[in-house]
Subunit: 344 residues, 2 copies
């Protein structure tokens, strides 16, 4: 029999709260008989949401009442101070106390990161957690981090991100020595910012499979498995990609509806266009990992729908099965040992 | 009669040198009877290239011999020190001495920026030049800067970029008070890096039409006319977009050739797909401006073809006609005066 997993869900978080989280949980429950989910939030609201979906609590689904909700625009410090009984906080507390193996939230990223860090603490050797997500590439996926948790980073932090990203790729994609690239603006050694140049030195001395500097376009070419950058740059790259994807979608809709012939062509090409849309569907990649914590926390996109949120739940399950936090602790310790050895 | 313009072309620069620059110049000559172009480079090579294209020198096209060439990977400091008779340097010298109104080069960006800055000097009130280019958006174009000349920027530099970008948009797109956004990773005041937050304060006090923070996706939505960021972030955003565009192209080719039906659909949809490709063609946007110099320098993409390089020549002509450097000097002086006034 498979190991039984427990995932706590911040059922009030995100743009849609229980309207998305509850059906997503029911979907996941149907797919994974070994899964126990704890819906965290207002008990009355959650019971109603379950009823609306023709379901109730049971051995695979329970409710844990939480009286507060963190607003999507609430400053992290305020959420941390004033919302000790929020659905987000309680979902993370359940991981801390061992009642859940991981938690998933579509809530406010800043508050989630601050709360997770405060409650779970970072793994030894990790200064700050980072956010990582899979990004489609020509040959598979690239994992990029940090995507916005840390605006400015030291070389040591970038190094830790590289180690954490390597662990994630090994765990999730079963790749033994993931290729790590440092995001920079030129491939020559002379270019780039100081922290990135120094991180490159640390990485070259470590046991990680560091392949060198990469540029923005390499995120999508699949030349590396892990792209490391600070959270400001990572977030801009991610959002820029979202913007360009929207522009392309806009162009496609405009051109395929610009004339009677275009609309006919759209009909004929519909099966192909639908496959294209599905391949580029960001919902498939929903579920960013908050790496570096003593516990597993998955951030769903705030606007996620049921399908997308269910993918975030799957990501949480995968990280539990692969013991990602424990592996990060081991790898960071050994990778840093290599660096210190060569330095002495 | 229209004003006669002279543009010097670094005919040896870029991946293709005279093979692209010479036909592009001939194309531009055919389109603009008021244009005089000076091809700068090895005279023998250039005469041959002209002959191959069935043309020669004349009142609208001359050759200026330069004995050296700057390599695409040559460090800027070396190019500046050792290549005083390079096609790049001489093309810029011609602008300095008033023999040309602007120059265009597809050469090494770092060397071009260093040489242009050394020879032409910056405009009063501008600390460092910046690279700006038009980027297609849902409602038209966004001009983004800096795209890679300055890896780390002070708040004052970001402010100057905003002023330079505003001038460029006003000159090129005839928009009176271009909307300026500062690239950041969250719309709340609390997020982001220190330099960006302080630049926001300067901009709010100035006479520029500053609309606030924007995120990466806003580059493509057209919410603002100018997006301001440091060169590291700008370059990553630009390259990331190039990478995603390649990925989309790859998906489209794969899906439209995956079966007999898909290939038939591609045939039917071909006129629409061709229009789409043309709308997304980066060659249309070739010709980045090196802003902030006492002279007009346009950087063409290194891999530009004839069509793309000819667009860079058109951009140079437009900036000459609109006296972009002079306007930048005026606007920066007046915008900074507003800030100082409010501060006293």
């Amino acid at each position: 029999m498979a190991q039984r997993l427990t995932i706590s869900l911040d059922a009030m978080g995100g743009d849609h709260g229980p309207d998305v989280v509850v059906p997503a949980a029911l979907h996941a429950a149907g797919q994974h008989p070994d899964l126990h989910q704890i819906l965290v939030g207002d008990e009355g609201v959650l019971r109603e949401a379950l009823e609306r979906n023709g379901a109730g609590t049971g051995p695979s689904l329970s409710i844990r009442h939480a009286s507060q909700t963190v607003g999507m625009d609430e400053p992290p410090s305020k959420a941390l101070r004033n919302k000790k009984d929020s659905s987000m906080r309680v979902a993370i507390d359940l991981v801390k106390e061992g009642s859940a193996d991981a938690c998933v939230s579509a809530g406010n990223t800043g508050a989630l990161m601050a709360t997770a860090r405060f409650v779970l603490k970072t793994i030894g050797g990790i200064d700050r957690p980072a956010i990582s997500s899979a990004i489609p590439s020509i040959y598979g996926h690239t994992y990029m981090l940090d995507l916005g948790a840390n605006t400015e980073c030291t070389p040591e932090q970038l190094f830790q991100f590289a180690a954490m990203g390597s662990v994630l790729v090994t765990a999730v994609n079963s790749i033994d020595a993931p290729r790590v690239g440092l995001l920079n603006i030129g491939e020559e050694e002379i270019k780039g910012i100081e922290a990135v140049r120094r991180a490159a030195q640390l990485l070259s001395q470590s046991s990680l499979n560091y392949v060198g500097f990469v540029e923005g376009d390499d995120i999508y070419t699949g030349e590396v498995d892990v792209v490391v950058c600070d959270g400001f740059v990572g977030n801009v790259a991610l959002k820029t990609s979202e913007g360009l994807a929207k522009l392309v979608g806009h162009y496609v809709r405009e051109e395929f509806s610009s004339s009677v012939y275009s609309r006919l062509a759209a009909l004929v090409a519909w099966p192909v266009l639908r496959r294209l849309r599905s391949r580029m569907d960001p919902r498939r990649y929903n579920g960013a990992s908050l790496l570096g914590l003593q516990g597993i926390v998955i951030k769903s996109h705030g606007g996620a729908d049921t399908y997308a949120f269910a993918n975030a739940i799957s990501m949480a399950m995968l990280e539990v099965k692969k013991s990602v936090p424990k592996r990060i602790g081991h790898l960071v310790a050994s990778a840093m040992a290599d660096v210190s050895e060569r330095e002495t």
